[in-house]
């Protein structure tokens, strides 16, 4: 109940600060432009339009959703401490884990709203322009939106962990940008370099799968680009899809774990903190 009160206030603040509006407009704008421009290379003849959109949109999500999530979450704890509002809040009958859970629910709701509305708009426009969309594609699209929200949850939790550990807001922002670069860009490049060097001699498929599980953005990518047969053909991941032994369920579980572990650690760090 306490967590719900805090969540409500966070949503209220996000609406007031136009965070919700900005995030929704950003995601909707990109989804729409990808829907129209994204089909240019494949042409529009005989192509399952929505599957193409899923490929391009999920690639975009990997960059954008973590960034938005970290922007919302990086100063959730340290920022409130610096502004002094945390001092007063914690003098109320509320446990620290309830504060954090409430913030998490609120921030996740904002992110989910923006994602569902922004991406949903793309489907609505495709349907309105008379593209043929079958059931399989719709399921894949829904899975993409759902997993995007989950990816957001992962990075909100990571942002809290950083926020609970560092001394000031500037450091939190710096560390979060570093983490974003690492998980979104550097990790994959390093992995690619490693694979190219190795030439398949030492690194087995299992080892590669494990390494991919250590990065939530890769888990997300695998889930969306290999999980659905008609999508993976467009993604150029059909080969990888045949090799991967990770089921969609295992990948989702990995994303959940990537949310719960940082969130748990953030709660622990926050509970021990003195202010």
């Amino acid at each position: 109940m306490n967590a719900v009160i805090v969540a409500r206030k966070e949503i209220h603040q996000a609406v007031r600060n136009r965070w919700v509006l900005a995030a929704t407009l950003l995601l909707a704008g990109l989804a729409l432009s990808l829907t129209f421009l994204g089909s240019a290379p494949t042409g529009s003849v005989g192509v399952r339009a929505l599957d193409v959109v899923i490929v391009s949109l999920s690639s975009l999500t990997i960059f954008l959703i973590p960034l938005i999530a970290l922007l919302i979450s990086h100063d959730a704890i340290v920022g409130d401490m610096e502004r002094g509002t945390m001092l007063l809040l914690l003098s109320y009958p509320i446990a620290r884990w309830q504060v954090l859970l409430g913030k998490f629910l609120g921030h996740l709701a904002v992110l989910a709203f923006a994602t569902c509305l922004g991406y949903g708009l793309a489907v609505a426009v495709l349907m309105a322009t008379g593209s043929h969309i079958d059931g399989d594609s719709l399921v894949a699209f829904a899975a993409m939106v759902g997993s995007s929200v989950l990816l957001g949850a992962v990075f909100v939790a990571i942002g809290y962990l950083v926020s609970a550990l560092v001394r000031d807001r500037g450091t939190a922002a710096g560390v979060c940008i570093g983490l974003w670069l690492l998980l979104v860009l550097i990790y994959d490049m390093a992995l690619l370099g490693l694979l190219a060097l190795d030439q398949g001699r030492n690194i087995s498929a299992v080892a590669l799968n494990t390494m991919l599980l250590f990065n939530p953005t890769d888990v997300y990518r695998l889930f969306n680009l290999t999980g659905f047969a008609n999508v993976s053909t467009f993604a150029g991941m059909a080969g990888l899809a045949q090799n991967t032994s990770l089921s969609a369920r295992a990948l989702l579980a990995a994303l959940m774990l990537w949310t719960l572990v940082p969130l748990g650690l953030a709660t622990l760090a926050f509970s021990r903190r003195e202010l």
Binding site: I5, Q13, R83, S91
Partner: protein
């Protein structure tokens, strides 16, 4: 006497700095206690310890049946706190902020909003807190601390930034609450303000409690002289009244005013003599040592032995 808070031999260290050292005191229902001491004396640290915002290095604390250091917070429903520099989320209005805090305490939102009128925020309550001045934030801070008739009120420098009128209202409100059984612990620099109101004074110096008692008790302990001012007619410019014992120290303030520093046990006798027949005393003022002087005395007396 029902205790609402108990601080037992509490020490708090931040690395090499000892913020509070071996402090003990009990707070009873209906007490109004002034916590005084200069900046860094440990007043804010004590309040934070009582709220569980920080944990004591040594010693134990109990507030409304909770051990705040262990994260217990059930009793905080009946606790109001006003931090020294209170701040709120800038995006919300005063009403929304007050409603949020009332919900957290499971108190009626409508009643909590009435408090906004009481502190004079009625029109500003619809504006965002980000637009508030320091004084208005302080008013909102008071309003949230008073939600749900608290049994313990911790007020850290509550009157800074308040105009004299609101200061008056503020003291009326907390005195009424204290009369109804609320324990009020307030820290302040404005000692003259507290003198008439606080039933008990705790003086802190560098993390150590140096005095604790009612103002009368502290006066007795301090043994500071009471100043007696006499208006005497027909006295030469450097003379002192003949009836004055030689042991009493006195000085001439101007033409016909004599000021005597009377030790506590001399006081009555001096007054008898002054008002006896045949003296030319026309007027008389008795000034017991003020809280300011007591504070300075206790600080000095703890500084010298070190």
């Amino acid at each position: 006497m029902t205790l609402t808070a108990r601080i037992a031999d509490v020490t708090k260290r931040y690395g090499p700095v000892t913020a509070v050292s071996g402090v003990s005191f009990d707070l009873a229902k209906g007490e109004m206690v002034a916590l005084i001491g200069h900046n860094g004396a440990g007043k804010t640290t004590l309040m934070k310890l009582m709220l569980g915002l920080i944990r004591p290095t040594r010693g134990s604390i109990e507030v409304l049946g909770d051990n705040p250091a262990a994260g217990q917070f059930a009793g905080r429903r009946h606790l109001g706190y006003l931090p020294e520099n209170v701040s709120f989320d800038a995006a919300l209005t005063g009403r929304e902020t007050q409603a949020f805090y009332a919900r957290l305490k499971r108190e009626s939102v409508a009643k909590a909003l009435e408090l906004l009128d009481m502190v004079g925020l009625d029109t500003a309550a619809l504006r965002r807190v980000g637009t508030y001045s320091k004084g208005m934030r302080q008013r909102l801070g008071l309003a949230q601390a008073l939600i749900g008739r608290p049994q313990v009120l911790l007020l850290d420098e509550p009157t800074t930034g308040l105009d004299p009128e609101l200061r008056q209202i503020f003291y009326e409100v907390i005195q009424r609450l204290a009369a109804e059984g609320t324990t009020v612990l307030l820290s302040s620099h404005v000692l003259t303000e507290l003198e008439e109101r606080a039933g008990r004074v705790i003086i802190m110096n560098r993390g150590v409690k140096v005095a604790d008692g009612s103002i009368d008790e502290l006066r007795r302990l301090a043994r500071l002289p009471t100043r007696i001012r006499l208006k005497v007619s027909g006295l030469g410019s450097s003379e002192v009244p003949a009836w004055l014992p030689t042991s009493a120290s006195c000085r001439r303030l101007n033409g016909h005013i004599v000021e005597i520093d009377a030790a506590p046990e001399q006081k009555i006798e001096l007054l008898h003599r002054a008002t006896a027949e045949g003296t030319s005393v026309e007027d008389l003022d008795v000034m017991p040592p003020s809280l300011d002087e007591l504070y300075a005395h206790f600080l000095k007396s703890t500084e010298t032995p070190r």
